[in-house]
Amino acid sequence: MDTFVATALVGTAQAGMREATTGTPVDALAAALAAGDAERRLLLQAGARAVYQRAGYVAERVESLPTPAPQELLPACSPAAALLLVPLLAGMYDDLLPEALERLRQAGLRLPYDLLPAALGLRTNALRALVAPLLGERGRWLAGFNLAWSWVGQTLGDMTDDVPADAETIWNEGSAGQRVAVLRRLRSVDVAKAREWVAAVWKSEKAETRAEMLMACEIGLGAEDELLLEAALDDRAAGVRAAAPTLLARLPGSAFAGRVRERADAMLVWKDGKLDARPPKALDPAALRDGIVEQASQAKGQRAYWMMQTLALVPPSHWEERFSQSAEALIAAAADSDWSLALLEGWSRAALVFTDARWITALWSFWRQWGGKGKRGDAGARDELLQALLPLVPHELAEHFALHLLTDPSAQSEAEAYEVLDALPRPWSAAFGAAYLQGLRLFLASLDAKSTDAVPWDHTLTAAARALPLDCFAAALEPFSLPEDNKNWYIANFGRQLETFADTLRIRQRLFEEIPV
């Protein structure tokens, strides 16, 4: 602080009689003032000095300029499309965002510059993965200026199969996340080298990193991974131990697969067209080492739970060969068994682990019509498995089931229609979409002032608005007629759902128009 300001700060009374000077040409002006009190003189000097400083502002100097962003390789989407994307990126109707972004990618377009800061601000990994290829050169360039946007480099890196030139450096010096990412990429091109990398550092890594590295074995999984995976069963960290069994089970020739199969074979016997289940009475240490968990969850007996876990690690096709029976016959026999839930749950989990399409379909068809054994938890387990299997069931079957739930009044106890509709692959088929809309209109026509609920159609409109295919838009946007009864809460509520449905569908329609693929 200069002495002039200091004088004002302490006050002229303290500073004594000496004249304050600014050290600028202002002092010459002040000298021309008529003699007066020191305070007034100081104030006028301060005013002139302030104007002098404003008028004489000297620009700073900045020498280093940013490197310009590279030329774009993709064209931007239309201004009209951009206008539609603004509210979506800001979080309104945000579940339409994935479809819109996916369409932009298919159309070979990028986001216009105006939208880039909002796009870089997206928070979930799923949306970031969708938006990253649409950022264009400018977006990637921009991300380099803000640490909060550093995810862009990583996300884009994860999406290519290329191993970066500096892979070795990243592996040796990067953060845990970067290292695992580069390891996964290397496994897809040079799995032998990736194994060498891991072998060299395995003992010195933290438990979480070891678990992640183990999980990376799912890429290019092969017999050479067995040694590491088998050793991981004895790891001191539970997280590492838990990652090994399903991977080992997927190695058909592994010692682990043999052990589990042997244990499972002892549990199931085919006799006189019936399945005889003999779950273990005790858990031996070898099974415990192979990842079978001792703690039984609620509603499942300890023995049933051990058996279920064991079966989940054996390919379902094994039983077809062993007993020379079809999947359907085996499932029917299992359903008759005293241990039906454990058997079928074990097989269902195995069908998912080994992605066996035939078994998935057969099991799913079974669960659909299974009423449970009246035990607590039966229905819950069934619904959970239905949801888990649904995305892998052939679309037609799944949609057929959904339609059955919506239109067959006796089906309502089987599952919640809106949950099944939510889990259906999108977009729906045109046939199912048309059937849905037809059913919906019939249902609306059946409503009257005395209606007391909107089951099973309640809440299904949310899924429909997002999943109906373009071919169904025109039919869906035909006005709906509801009974004119504002007092019935259920009708009014369903009316509001219909409005939101139409709004959402119109936005999708505009998106389809503005982003032609």
Binding site: T12, A13, G47, L65
Partner: protein, 444 residues
């Protein structure tokens, strides 16, 4: 024909984001029973809860709608304007009777305003003039007494030292400001209220506060010897002390400038009881900057539609003064055209020199229009330090804010930028990138 605006520019007119969203929904011919446009206006009938007649006079972007909404412009007006962005949506035709009637009424009202002023002048009787002179004399005395007390108060402050004010409550400034309001010097009161925010606000607050007190002292000093000043500067001093000019006084004494006026940018400041909109214009031929101020109290809309990124042939009238900046529209002539280029200073040095010249004529100006050609935005420290740099390496710091849009649109290359300079930081208001105008900030 049609309006030559972008959707963004239309959306900037929306009073709030809800209206903008609703306007977008209505920007679909499906909702409109009729649509049309002529040289002067666009219009349409929108099917809402009732059939609403919506019309826009294009020269002033004045929207009229028969709906009961108190929003202005309402969603129907915004919908109509958004539709008109694409001329194909709105066929050219003869205006229907209801549009013709409205346009005629507006024209008649404008004419009437002119004649009313003339009549009033004629009517002013000698006794009226005498009364007015007496009132003016009384006010002058009040102000002079107020100024004298303010001078004493300021001298006391400096005698006791500015260090003491940091611990003073807000009432310390407010009491003195209220005294100036009582003395009918609201301009001085406003300056005192602004000073209340300085102590403790930054490391350099003593220097800043001393500067502001000093400039206030220069103002009271000038007021005390106002007859010695240049006539134009007398106007400034009177306005700064608090003699607000009536519209017709501005019309009588202010300079009229006919030009192609470019609306370069806008900034809206929320204040206690309302909002202040600061819009900067530049004359394409005269290169004169103009500041259009509008106030809105309690959420009322701004009276005049001023769209950043447009250009229009118009006559501005400036508040009289030694270096006039504040102005208002006197007559807007042609249609609004989109802005595609901004004439400005080639170097920061030249822009600062223009500021210096203005200050030399009127030292109390606080903010200046600063139009820079070919400056590169530079972001450092992860977005906490921002500058624009000209081709010579000279740099101005940007106001503390998030300037990611500016950086994105620049792509690391030089752009033309319009901003508001306050002798400390530059507030970016608008830019040209790849031949298109982009509004920056201000969209509160």
């Amino acid at each position: 024909m049609g309006i030559q605006l972008t959707s963004d520019q239309v959306l900037a007119l929306a009073p709030d984001s809800g209206s903008a969203a609703n306007g977008k929904k209505l920007a679909n011919p499906r909702h409109w029973k009729s649509l049309g446009q002529s040289e002067e206006a666009v219009w349409g009938e929108c099917q809402g809860s009732a059939l609403y007649q919506v019309q826009v006079e294009l020269a002033s972007m004045t929207v009229k709608c028969s709906c009961p909404s108190h929003k202005f412009p309402c969603k129907h007006g915004l919908g109509l304007l958004l539709l008109s962005v694409d001329a194909r949506n709105v066929p050219a035709s003869e205006p229907p009777e209801w549009v013709r009637a409205w346009l005629a009424k507006r024209a008649a009202a404008a004419e009437q305003r002119v004649t009313r002023t003339e009549q009033k002048d004629a009517k002013t009787a000698p006794e009226e003039a005498a009364k007015a002179a007496k009132r003016a004399e009384k006010r002058l005395m009040l102000v002079q007494r107020g100024v004298a007390s303010l001078d004493l108060w300021m001298s006391d402050l400096v005698r006791n030292g500015l260090a003491s004010v940091e611990s003073q409550p807000a009432t310390f400034w407010e009491r003195q400001a209220a005294a100036m309001v009582d003395a009918q010097a609201p301009g001085l009161a406003a300056r005192l209220r602004q000073m209340a925010g300085i102590p403790g606000a930054s490391r350099k607050w003593p220097e800043k506060l001393l500067g502001e007190l000093g400039r206030l002292a220069l103002l009271t000093h000038s007021f005390a010897r106002i007859e010695a000043l240049d006539v134009a500067l007398q106007e400034d001093v009177r306005q700064l002390v608090g003699w607000a000019l009536k519209e017709e006084e501005v019309g009588e004494r202010g300079a009229r400038v006919l030009d192609d006026w470019l609306v370069l940018g806008q900034h809206i400041v929320d204040e206690d009881r309302g909002r202040t909109q600061r819009t900067w214009l530049l004359g394409a031929e005269t290169r004169r900057p103009a500041l259009l101020l509008q106030f809105s109290f309690m959420g009322q809309p701004f009276k005049e539609q001023l769209l950043p990124g447009t250009a229009q042939r118009a006559e501005l009238v400036f508040w009289p003064g030694a270096a006039p900046l504040r102005a208002r529209f006197d007559a807007r002539h042609g249609e609004l055209r989109p802005l595609t280029a901004m004439p400005g200073a080639d170097t920061i040095h030249a822009a600062l020199a223009a500021t210096t010249a203005t200050l030399a004529r009127q030292p109390w100006h606080d903010r200046f229009l600063c139009v820079l050609r070919a400056v590169t935005p530079v972001c450092a420290e992860g977005g906490t330090s921002w500058h624009v740099v000209d081709r010579e390496g000279a740099a101005l710091p940007l106001v503390e804010d998030d300037h990611w849009r500016l950086l994105t649109l620049s792509g690391g290359t030089a752009v033309d930028l319009a901003g508001e300079w306050n002798s400390e930081t530059l507030r970016p208001l608008g830019m040209i990138a790849e031949g298109a105008y982009h509004a920056l900030g201000g969209a509160a």
